[in-house]
Structure formats: structure tokens, C-alpha cells
Symmetry: C2
Subunit: 416 residues, 2 copies
């Protein structure tokens, strides 16, 4: 059955790739309207998921993640409309050149083909990914988590309705509704029909995909994020950035995990950081150097051996004292998952070294790590945040769902 979906997706992708911008973007306008008109039906389907989640004892935070109320549905529709208005990367020609023999050459952006997106809980992913995929002329096979099965089914039905109304192939968006894990394995095995696997979830899901597929897998969405407070940093303002990066939304991948502090400012900065963040509920894991500066603070514990390799996803913050920027960069490159890392400094030379030497998808100078996000970066939305090196790094928006072909136009040119 999943193989059949793959065949249909491939056929739909061939059609999608030849449709003009207006048609693909137009379907997004229809989808936004359908979302608004169908609030009641979506809330009803979502209500079943929420009831099942409560019955199975999921905690409030998780239930909040999967809940869709009228306001959230309205926001989804607005996001789809924003995407509708963004420029279409497909068809764009770049690197135009004329070879010495007169052959005109360029690269032309084309859809990636068939995407398979495997995700957990949040139902808004269903709409975000469908809309990005339609806008870029791809086909997508969605496999959502079982906690949002009813919501996802209702949302995908609307997406397909929008495609149908605008004359686009409905199989450009398909949903694997059978919750059996065997279906995921079948999806991972569609080597000739799926061009890229995009997992959205924890490290286990990413590993599972990589181990069971020969299709390229986009790894990402996992970050052990660092902020390094350099000797020249403005400590007061640094505390504001650290507070934001840690507490604004602690459960996401670009939230702060570890603060590195230059030895020369540690005795001053560390107690102030702890005093500013502890009232927000933050607790701390300090390396010996940091622990020394923080004697008597109730929220501070000595860090254990694995604490600097843990993505906290909660109000825990690692603290470590470093002797210099070399040590800060080395620690970051050794422990970061290559997601988002920031330096707070007044010294342009330190800033330049951080940018050049920290090997992460997003490197910042004097900014919160929380900015790494397709919406924040102006990409409209994101299908994932890649921490791998090939194809795309960081937030993947419209352009990252395309590839290119070379186009050569001549006058019966032959190679000499």
C-alpha cells in the first residue's frame, strides 16, 4: 500500500513540476479559506485526539502541543496565506553564462521531487509541510504521530480538497494513516520513488531512518546550543540574551543548553546569571570552575559527566568556565550538535574567530540562539532545521525544497 502511494506521488510530482506558479500558489489560497471555513470540523477531529491523549495519561504540556483551537487554526490559515505571497523559487534561472563557443548555460531551479516527512505530535506540521511542498511543486508523503491521527486526517482531507478544486493532482499530498510502524519501514524502503526522507522528532527517529533507508535523510532538529560570554562582553546585556535563549521556549531545539564564561569575568558574571534566571525556574549544572564561583546557590549542582552532552529541552542550564576563546570554540565544536551557537563579545577579533571556527548550522554574534527558525529568518516556514552538511544547513524553507537542472541552449553546438 505504501509502495502504491509512492507510485502515485511520483506521477503527481511529474505533473506538479510542470504547473505554473499561479496554479501552485493559488491552491494555498484555497487551502487557507478551507481551513477558516472548517474550524468546527477540525476542532471536532482534534477533540478526539485530545480525549484519547487524556485517557492515555499524556501530560498537560504534550496535550497543549497537540491541541488545535480556533485561534491556532486561524494562525495556520494566516501562515498559509503568507506562504502564498512569498516569491516562488521554482523556475528561477541563475549562474547564467555564455561559454566561449557560444553555448548559453544556466542553472534552473526545479522541485526536489517526492518528499517523505515522518513527524511526531504537532498537527501544524501537517499544514506547514503540505503548503511548502505544494508551493515548490513537490509531492509529499506524510507520516504523522498516532497522537494526532484524527486531526491529521482532517487536515490532509482539506489539503487534498484544495488541490482538487484548483485542478492540481491530489496525490501530491498523501498521508499514511495506518499507525503500524511497519508502514514507516515500507516508506523508508521506497528508494526509487522517494527523493528525500525528512524526519522531525528525536534522535532515535533520526537514527532509525538513517539505519533503515538508502534514501538520503535530512538530519536535524537536535541542538546542544552554546552561548560563550567573552571577556569583553557587556555582562548586563549578556544576561538578557541568556535569559531569552534559555527561558523563552525551553522545549525547542534552538533553546540554550550551555553557557561558557571567560575566566576573567566568571566571578562577576556567573552569580548574576544564576540570580537572574533562577526566579524563572532555571536550575544549573556547573563544572568545577563555575561551581567555585557559585558557592551556596541552591539552584546550582555540580555537573555530571554527561551533562555537557545533553540537550535539556527544559529549564536546566550547564555552566562552564573557559580560559580563553580557543577553549570555548573547542568545547563548542566537541559538544554542540552543530545547530546554533552564539558568542557575546565586544571584541571584533573574537567575533570573527567564532564565526569562522565554530562549525554549526547557525553561528551568532551578540544574539540569542532562539533565532534559528524559518519564520524568524524570513523563509516563511520551515520543513526542518538541518544539522547535516549536505544540501541544506539550518532552517529549510522553500528554496531548500528545490534542486536545479543545468540548461544548455545552442545552435546545433558540438564539442570539439
Amino acid at each position: 500500500m505504501v509502495r502504491e502511494m509512492g507510485l502515485k506521488a511520483r506521477a503527481a510530482a511529474r505533473v506538479m513540476a510542470t504547473l505554473p506558479t499561479e496554479v501552485r500558489s493559488g491552491a494555498l489560497g484555497t487551502l487557507a479559506r478551507l481551513l477558516e471555513e472548517s474550524r468546527g470540523a477540525i476542532e471536532q477531529a482534534n477533540g478526539r485526539d485530545v480525549a484519547l491523549a487524556r485517557a492515555s495519561g499524556l501530560d498537560d504540556a504534550l496535550i497543549d502541543r497537540l491541541t488545535l483551537d480556533g485561534a491556532r487554526i486561524g494562525a495556520l490559515a494566516r501562515d498559509v496565506r503568507a506562504l502564498e505571497r512569498l516569491p516562488d523559487p521554482v523556475g528561477e534561472r541563475f549562474d547564467r553564462t555564455v561559454l566561449p563557443n557560444g553555448l548559453r548555460l544556466c542553472r534552473q531551479r526545479v522541485p526536489l521531487g517526492v518528499l517523505a516527512v515522518i513527524y511526531e505530535s504537532r498537527p501544524n506540521v501537517t499544514i506547514d509541510v503540505s503548503a511548502l511542498s505544494i508551493k515548490t511543486g513537490n509531492s509529499v508523503i506524510l507520516r504523522g504521530g498516532k497522537e494526532t491521527l484524527h486531526s491529521n486526517r482532517a487536515l490532509v482531507a482539506l489539503v487534498r480538497e484544495a488541490l482538487g478544486r484548483k485542478g492540481l493532482p491530489q496525490d501530491a499530498v498523501q498521508f499514511v494513516g495506518d499507525p503500524d510502524r511497519a508502514r514507516v519501514l515500507e516508506l523508508l524502503d521506497l528508494g526509487d520513488l522517494v527523493d528525500v526522507i525528512i524526519p522531525r522528532g528525536g534522535a532515535n527517529l533520526h537514527r532509525f531512518c538513517r539505519e533503515h533507508s538508502r534514501i538520503p535523510v535530512i538530519t536535524g532538529g537536535i541542538g546542544i546550543c552554546h552561548i560563550y560570554v567573552d571577556a569583553s562582553a557587556d555582562i548586563e546585556r549578556a544576561i538578557g540574551v541568556i535569559h531569552n535563549a534559555k527561558t523563552q521556549r525551553p522545549s525547542v531545539c534552538n533553546a540554550l543548553d550551555t553557557v561558557l564564561v571567560h575566566r576573567s569575568v566568571a566571578a562577576d558574571a556567573l552569580p548574576r546569571i544564576v540570580e537572574a534566571l533562577a526566579p524563572a525556574g532555571v536550575v544549573f549544572r556547573a563544572d568545577p570552575g563555575a561551581f567555585e564561583c557559585l558557592a551556596g546557590h541552591g539552584a546550582v549542582r555540580a555537573a555530571g559527566p554527561e551533562d555537557f552532552d545533553t540537550e535539556w529541552m527544559s529549564l536546566v542550564l550547564g555552566l562552564k568556565v573557559v580560559g580563553n576563546i580557543d577553549e570555548a570554540i573547542a568545547h563548542t565544536n566537541a559538544h554542540s550538535m552543530g545547530h546554533s551557537d552564539s558568542i557575546l563579545t565586544g571584541d571584533p577579533a573574537s567575533a570573527e574567530r567564532w564565526i569562522r571556527e565554530v562549525d554549526s548550522a547557525a553561528v551568532y554574534v551578540n544574539a540569542s540562539t532562539r533565532f534559528t527558525d524559518g519564520g524568524q529568518f524570513g523563509l516563511g516556514a520551515e520543513v526542518a532545521i538541518s544539522t547535516q552538511r549536505l544540501h541544506a544547513r539550518g532552517p529549510m524553507g522553500l528554496r531548500e525544497l528545490t534542486t536545479y537542472k543545468w540548461v544548455g541552449e545552442g545552435d546545433y553546438h558540438t564539442r570539439s
Copy 2:
């Protein structure tokens, strides 16, 4: 042992990524000089490979492929110098923008990291790949074919000598000299140390790499290339292009495999194509429609069931009559490996449809398929020709050996 090479490659890559352009490019100048000064030693090492190849009964064409004489070594040195002069993509900043909150954002090009290139026979690949890798600040682990072991060892020694003289880490270029196939498996298993596997060889090598590695593999270098002669084509000039695409170098991946001819011109065009190419030694496999137009031609046989799915690599050419451009596009998309396909036409609407609908790395209008090549495209050289969709498509030169990081620069910016 291979794992140790991986660790050294990763350490060298960290250093390479921080070196300025002049240093990386400078090493290429030194390498070019060393190649010229060491012609005698290279020829001597290559002589051993050639003698062993003769003794093991390799045919003349293969022996020619692996032979390095003074002229070929000179050409290698010239290619390295040309690469030295090309602009360096590393460090380039693009997509600069200032977010509404004032955060300055851009993407900055950085090296890919550690490459593993697994290739067969031709020793010039050793120099091409090493030079591309050094220029772009990557590390590379090379695994060449056993037929050129002595030549490759001599060439890699010169590359490492050049790196050392210029103060670059010698482990940025390493060579797996042990011909045991188990070493390839070890290389494919270095998931944490190698960023991309680039196989250069036949379909079996590509499949082997994909099946035995969780590292991203660049698939490519295999093409079943088509030329479609549209109803409006200039037949005389079309024959020139077909002749070039088929006979100029029949053993390479961008050589022509199948000619599709529009029914309305088939009776005129097909006999003329056969008469023009047969004297060059070309033999033909014709589908029923084409066979009908070619009665009595000694060089023409009826095509068998797999002939249109065969990459000929020799002077064999498939011929097929199609009813219209839809059929030509459908046949091409079904049988091409997504490498290079060309339309010969006088009709702009047909040209546009071919460009949009043929799903290959390189699509041409009125040009030979033979142009798909890093040198021809002005990329300097190529590390491979990708026929996959992710990351890079078609010839992979300097830029395709890089990725990017996002750089955000602010004034203690926080996300609201």
C-alpha cells in the same frame, strides 16, 4: 587503520577550514611545480602499473586510460594551475539581509568537511580530486583502483609534499593503499568522520556504496543519454550533433545512447543518420518503427527488450521513432538515468517543453550531450557528475564541494 585516517582527516579539515585563500591556493601552485619537476619519477611508477596491467592481460584501451606520459603529466600540472587561479568559493557571503529587528543575517560558504572518494583506474582523478579538495578547504581520503596503485602512491606523495611545504596539514589528503576490499567497507563505515562518499565508477560501485553506508553518497556518472530529433529540426545539422555526441568519445557517461526521431521526419532522417555514422564504426539497434525505415542497412539490427535501458559506452546507438514530443519526453524520463538529454528543434515551444519536462541533470536545446563536464562548463574540474537530486546536480566543481553556515550578527538581540 582506516578509522585512524578518518580521525586525522577530521582534524586536518578543522585546520583547513580556517586557512586563508592564498594559503590553500598557494599549495596548488607548489603541486603544479612538483608535478612538472617529477615527471620522471611519476612515469617510472606508472610504468610499473602499465607492466602489471599488460602482464594481467588488460586490453589496450584500458592500458591507455591508465598510462601517464610526459604530455599527460604536463596537462595535469596545467589543470592544477588553472584551478589555482579560479575564484575561491569559501568565505563568500550571500543572501545578506537585515531582519526587521535589526539582526544582520547571511549565509557564508564553508568547506563540506571530509570527503571520501572511491574511484577506478584513471590516475588523473587523484590529482583532480586532491586539488579541488585543497582549494575548497576540505580533507579527502582517496581510494583508487588497484591497477594504478603505484602511480597513485607517487602522485599522493607529491600532493602531501606540496601541502607540507606550504605549511598545510598533510593529512588533508590521504590515500588508502591497501588493495583489500575490506578497507572500502571500513571507509563506508566512518559515519562520524566522513561527510560524503563520492564513488566514481560503474553502477555496481555506486550500489555497493549506498548499500553499505549511512553516510550520504553522491550517485552519478552513469547516463543513458538521448537526443530527440523534433519534426522541425534541421536534419543536416542534427546529424552533425548526433555524430559528435555518439563518436567523439563513446566510452564516457555523457556520450549518446539513443536517438528518438519524430515520425514525420523519420523516413528522411534515419537513413541519413545511419549513412553518416556507420563509416565511423557505429552499429544500430532500431525499434520496429525505425527498423522499417532502415531496411537493408547492414549496420542496423532490431533492438532487443533491454537495449533502451543500456548505457552503451561503445559505438552502439539505439534508434526509435516517436509520434510526438510527449512520447519523446515520456520515453526519455522513463529510460534516461537523469544525466544529459538534448532536443534538436526549430520550434521554441518544443524547446521550452523539453527544458521544463525532461527531468535530467543537464537538458539541452540544439547541442550535443557531450558538454556535460566540469571543464566544459567552466567549473575548472569536476569531482563527479551527480545524477541525484540532493545537494548538487550535474558536474560538481568547487562550489559543490562547499556548504554554508548561517551567520547572525546583532547587538545583544533577543527573540520576542
